[in-house]
Amino acid sequence: MSKVHVKICVGTTCFVMGASELQDLEKFLPDDLKDKVEISGAACLGLCRDENYGEAPFVTVDGEPLSNATVNAIVDKIREKL
């Protein structure tokens, strides 16, 4: 089974706006998702400089950008992709 890829931006803007805490995402994932998700860090995705994209922190879930990311929002997005 292919996994859902979550990339957490750890560029400076996202880091300051909360990505530093999102780095712990793995710990907060519900048990049923733990082996279905692959998490990695990413350099600045460039979204923080683009007015069209809402607010940092940004993550991408299977390539789809998510602004104002929180653990809950990411989990919801992952479920959507499964």
């Binding site: 560029g11 803007t13 706006m17 350099a43």
Partner: protein, 484 residues
């Protein structure tokens, strides 16, 4: 301490906006509009209404301009005029924290509360076990008479339904020295600056974000704009605050307008050397105990609350003081800015002639974001000074002890070196303050005590942005790296 929550996010977003506008040269014109932009009409409010949200934002901006909200005498004075005041001042304030009354929720001071899980049972152990007869059952529910209650908590222990809970006032609970209290007359929360050690714990603890810290960001931006030699003295805890190496951080700081970066670890080396010497002298001189001196919130705690400990505090200056001294010797015109995770350093700097300003990691992060500088995208530049690994380890709990042990090892074997029996206090709370008293009386073992006011050490500081566990790993890794 960096924890994901809305109060932190709002504050950081606001800082970024403020710095962006400053950079464009438009802050004076736009600052009064910022609260309206952040809470536009029909927007959802996080407090009772958007009007209150806007009022709170206004005060937050005031604090970011470095102005104490309690100094307000004219409520209609616009932020643009406060901005003018900030531009004019020569020196930042030395009182640092303020309680923002409009944001304060005036948390209930009664510590015990009967919840509706109470079934008004037949046995009623709460009424029987209350030593003051403060609990009566009225209309099938236990009620506490707060005029009689002495906060002993017996009722919570005996209730079979766990229906009585303890409700803390978070800021009071967090303050190690009871410096934040309710004024009985006005019913307002206030900080007693005689008692306050500027540790910043109340600020992190308050879930309403009602404790504000006076920033010096405008003063720093002004100095940079005026083309002065502004030197960034970065605390050892900076590793792990940004994704990127020290060399990359140095480059990012240059891009932001700082003349150069100097590691405060440089001063930490000197602190260590002095502490080792101090320790050996004291022990040979039938001393009993020496404590560290580098944590300003700890030293303030001693001065204000445990004066009997003062003779045991090492005479070594702090890493910040040694670093600032070195920078001013090398470049007398330099403007020195200490950059760290600490609120208490603002207090320490206000008493140190060589340190001009203090900036927090949070503010530096906001500055990078506002300037669109991505640390990890910067080329690493070579650091000017070589610094020993152990000095970079100062930022974590036990880091200072480790540095001292390492420095002692290097002393000549023929020297008469007393054995170091070390202990540490990792985070000051009410209990630890009591412990300090016992140490001062010689009732606890050991001849060396490391004290850090923040749990985990500086990496757990109130204005850090990096996640504590990861930041600790990063600091330790760098401290263990062999010198190049």
């Amino acid at each position: 301490m960096a924890t994901a929550n809305d109060a932190n996010k709002v504050r950081r977003g606001l800082l970024i906006k403020l710095i962006k506008e400053y950079r464009k040269g438009t802050l004076r014109e736009t600052i009064d509009r910022i609260p309206y932009q952040m809470r536009p009409k029909n927007d959802e409010s996080s407090r009772c209404c958007i009007y209150k949200d806007r009022a709170v934002l206004k005060y937050r901006l005031m604090a970011m301009l470095g102005i104490g909200v309690e100094t307000e005498t004219d409520e209609s004075k616009p932020l643009s005029e406060y901005y003018d005041d900030a531009e004019k001042r020569e020196k930042p304030d030395s009182d640092i924290l303020s309680v923002l009354d409009v944001a304060c929720s005036h948390c209930i001071t009664s510590r015990y509360l009967v919840t509706n899980a109470c079934r008004g049972c037949f046995a009623r152990p709460c009424t029987f076990n209350c030593p003051k007869n403060a609990i009566k059952v009225i209309d099938g529910q236990a009620r506490i008479d707060y005029n009689l209650c002495i906060d002993c908590g017996k009722c919570t222990q005996v209730c079979p339904f766990h229906a009585i809970i303890r409700v803390p006032v978070p800021c009071e609970e967090a303050c190690p020295v009871n410096a934040i209290r309710r004024d009985e007359k006005t019913d307002r929360q206030y900080i007693d600056f005689e008692a306050c050690t500027s540790c910043g714990k109340c600020m992190t603890a308050c879930p309403f974000g009602a404790i504000l810290e006076r920033s010096q960001i405008i003063d720093i931006l002004n100095a940079i704009k005026a083309g002065k030699d502004v030197v960034a003295m970065v605390a050892p805890a900076i590793v792990g605050q940004f994704a990127g190496s020290l060399g990359q951080i140095a480059s990012a700081l240059k891009k932001a307008g700082f003349a150069k970066m100097v590691e405060v670890a440089l001063g930490a080396e000197m602190t260590t050397e002095h502490e080792v010497k101090d320790f050996i002298d004291r022990m040979n001189d039938d001393g009993t105990l020496m404590t560290t001196s580098c944590c300003p919130a700890y030293v303030e705690t001693v001065k204000r609350h445990v004066p009997e400990m003062l003779p045991f505090v090492s005479g070594a200056k702090t890493p910040m003081q040694y670093t600032a001294e070195t920078v001013k010797q090398e470049t007398p015109n330099a403007i020195t800015v200490f950059i760290g995770p600490c609120v208490a350093k603002r207090k320490e700097a206000s008493e140190d002639n060589n340190t001009d300003y203090v900036m927090t990691f949070e503010e530096l992060g906001a500055m990078f974001a506002a300037y669109e500088i991505d640390v990890a995208g910067e080329p690493a530049i070579k650091l000017e000074h070589d610094v020993k690994g152990y000095a970079r380890g100062f930022a974590t709990s036990c880091g200072v002890s480790a540095a001292i042990l390492e420095e002692m090892k290097k002393l000549h074997p023929e020297m008469d070196i007393p054995e170091l029996k070390g202990n540490f206090i990792n985070g000051l709370d009410k209990k630890a303050v009591k412990q300090l008293k016992l140490y001062a009386q010689g009732k606890l073992p050991g001849n060396f005590l490391e004290v850090m006011a923040c749990e985990g050490g500086c990496v757990g500081g109130p204005c850090a942005i990096g996640q504590v566990r990861l930041a600790t790993q990063a600091v330790k890794k760098l401290a263990e790296e062999p010198p190049k």
